[in-house]
């Protein structure tokens, strides 16, 4: 894919990925065919900041985990009152990273 397009994509979407994944994402995008551009553009990513806000409000009920597609963990969190509150607090720090990992998964699945 054209380097200019890829850089444009990276600039617009860099906050959705872990910083150490950015080069990997860029390389993968560069090796993609031009015909996939529309499909990659149409992907919607989980916003880490939004998940953090949801985690602050509904973390005790596992809503943050449900939101990023971690249904199993969401149910576990819901059934344990947010891991007796401990998991809910730990997740305040982990959820942004988890959302970014999910975004990388989503992109990888879309371009394979």
């Amino acid at each position: 894919m054209d380097a200019q397009r890829v850089d444009m994509f990276m600039m617009a979407n860099s906050k959705f990925f872990e910083s150490h994944h950015l080069m990997q994402v860029r390389d993968r995008m560069l090796s993609l065919d031009d015909s996939r551009w529309m499909m990659v553009q149409s992907l919607s990513f989980y916003d880490p900041t939004t998940t953090l806000i949801v985690s602050l409000i509904g973390g005790g009920l596992g809503i943050d985990r449900f939101m990023i597609g971690d249904t199993g963990m969401g149910i576990a969190k819901l059934l344990t009152c947010g891991g007796l509150g401990v998991w809910a607090i730990i997740d305040l720090f982990l959820i942004m990273g988890a959302a970014r990992e999910k975004n990388l998964d989503k992109l990888t699945r879309a371009i394979i």
């Binding site: 005790g60 009920l61 597609g69 971690d70 249904t71 199993g72 963990m73 149910i75 576990a76 819901l78 059934l79 344990t80 009152c81 947010g82 891991g83 007796l84 509150g85 809910a88 607090i89």
Partner: protein, 138 residues
């Protein structure tokens, strides 16, 4: 085993271990007639029970053989008790034997719970259980 699988197994084993520790600690407190513990952050802050409040009491009823008492406290306790009986040991077995049986079940359950036919009744039941819990004053 890829990093995603390892993370799921890590969480399941940790949760199981924490669950046994918590039940043991609460049981010990009841036996020695100390103040009952409130483990729920939502209940401690707002005073209102969360949808899963009463699960510990329900599991303790089950451990003492009182199935009806357990259902009356919070039916989610039965699910937690069953999960606690099987999941940590199965996870431990899978990790030590290098198998992924539990992970496959976990993924299937996740896919199932993403279907509206399953998750809408699940949320409705959780809400009903919550309303029941609040009206009981858990």
């Amino acid at each position: 085993m890829n990093p995603g699988m390892r993370q799921v197994y890590f969480y399941l084993i940790l949760l199981g271990f924490a669950g046994y520790l918590w039940i043991g600690w609460v049981y010990f407190n009841i036996e020695s007639n100390r103040e009952p513990l409130v483990g729920c952050l939502i209940k401690s802050v707002t005073g209102l029970p969360c949808p899963s409040c009463g699960t510990t009491r329900s599991v303790i009823h089950l451990v003492s053989g009182d199935f009806i008492g357990s259902l009356k406290t919070n039916p989610l306790g039965v699910i937690s008790f069953t999960a606690l009986l099987f999941v940590p040991f199965w996870a431990f077995w899978d990790v030590s034997m290098g198998q992924i049986g539990l992970f496959r079940l976990y993924r299937k359950a996740e896919i199932l719970f993403r279907k509206p036919v399953v998750f809408i009744p699940f949320i409705a039941l959780m809400l009903l259980n919550w309303v029941w819990g609040i009206s009981k004053g858990l």
